[in-house]
Subunit: 338 residues, 2 copies
Amino acid sequence: MKTGEDELVQRIAKALAFRSTGRLTLGMGDDAALLKPRLGFDAILSCDWFLEGRHFLPRLHPPDSVGWKCLARAISDIAAMGGQPVCFLLSLGLPERVVNQDKGWTATWLPEFLRGLRRAARRFGCPAAGGDTTQTRQILISVTVIGEVQTGLATRRSGAKPGDRIFVSGTLGQAELGLQILRSGAGPSPQNDSALRKHLYPEPRLALGRWLARQRLAGSMMDISDGLSSDLPRLCEASRTGAKIEAAKLPTPKAPVATSKTHFDALRLALNGGDDYELLFTVRQKDVARIPRSFQGVPVTQIGEITRDRRIVTVGQDKTIKPLFPRGWDPFRKNNER
Amino acid sequence: MKTGEDELVQRIAKALAFRSTGRLTLGMGDDAALLKPRLGFDAILSCDWFLEGRHFLPRLHPPDSVGWKCLARAISDIAAMGGQPVCFLLSLGLPERVVNQDKGWTATWLPEFLRGLRRAARRFGCPAAGGDTTQTRQILISVTVIGEVQTGLATRRSGAKPGDRIFVSGTLGQAELGLQILRSGAGPSPQNDSALRKHLYPEPRLALGRWLARQRLAGSMMDISDGLSSDLPRLCEASRTGAKIEAAKLPTPKAPVATSKTHFDALRLALNGGDDYELLFTVRQKDVARIPRSFQGVPVTQIGEITRDRRIVTVGQDKTIKPLFPRGWDPFRKNNER
């Protein structure tokens, strides 16, 4: 007999179960999950699509990376608010071939996906609270993360002021580089591995986001998921400002090993590469000295300044000013597949 | 120029905006939404798929019904916990043809969908808090509803005890009948209209669910979304009991006007029809007299009894006992389309 929905839900619940925080009073298996709120905290709500053919390719992306990444990227939105994750809901659409273990990659896809998801859930302290499953032609994933932040400490996109300095965490464009390496089929090497890891197993910057919020150092903050050139205009739009980015200061990725270097454009990767899940935030000039150069091993780099002039520009080493156009990821503009 | 994601999000935010409850301190447009918890209440979390080709057909289902129903069915899970909705997140995958208004049905699909969704959001006091959009080949909808219930009052599936009486709200199988009428292309008539309305614009039983929870009258409760024959075993499994349903007592739908009556099987519809979003609950024998025959115009009917014997059976008028097999909606068992 074929697997029914109830049996599938039991498989998922079993694979994702781990010691609860005590605040989830009812997890998977009822109509809904119950969560005790925490006094003095606001709830943070965020959801993210992760779709076969659009955000991942089964033949390119290991299923445990799909599991890890679908949760990690949703949690990145919580980090960008200065919060911490509490639990998540998993909406999963699976083709019959994945549920009723066919030959080939489908046979092991589901358990490996769930293993990656569970690993991320443990890593970020964000247990599964429930979800919904249905049958679909392609694998569909939508993850909703519930987080929390002390009332009054949430960092929004709208708080940037002219004169504020702009910072980013980590290296920009490294995840995009990882995708290029993955596509090229290049073998492992220490340098390639960090880009591959960034693409396959991103780490939302929870500790940095929380620290910035608690110290009230970030006037505005968001995560870079679509690429700096697409995300910075969103922060500026919300804050009604412009921005000036110093191209030479951008933390660009290093050229990969064993791939064509003729096409390697570090600046373009840093400006337009998506999937980085780094933090973009602004700091008042008087507080700049309080921002460390790295936080728990993650570089923190000042890359420019918020301007009253609403344009968004880059300044080159030769002082030439160029407008920065949004050329990052937009599902409705490009026909790109990830 | 084609619509980008930011423009689409703005369109959605504008269409769904209405006076906030004051507890959503930050809605659409930032990384995530912020929600103030309510003292003495637990949060209820639930999500539901609603997919083109599986849960609705663009040529059969008006877009405003798709908007209404995707939210109403997710809210039904909140009703089943005895809670009230607070806000929802909308994960929307749209084909390019729907976003960049093509000819035919796609031109008006999105605004009408959003109108139906907004109408349901107002009706049930459940504003949009945020969401995620992406481009897909078919219309994909996943709705997450956040609700709340006074701490300690949530009604679960697992509280049924042998001897408890089983109740349902409304008429069972009427939504399935509505789908049959819709498919047959039968014209409007007072009798057909109520079944059609039930299929297209279901009303989650929020007031009844809340009343039962507050009065502590329901030992166990869930909503009937897949059909009684599929959902009752879930309640019994969670409660480690069986059940005996009196077939003659089931609130079955009336035969429709102007469709073939030879194939009309009211009992089968009531047992296996999906999409009803009625409440199924159990009441201790001593409390049965406190359950009204109707609640705010919605019939409430006693249909059977919870048994220690773990089988689930129907008893006919001639006292013959038959096992009740799950023949309701299961996305992984049938290849049915809605």
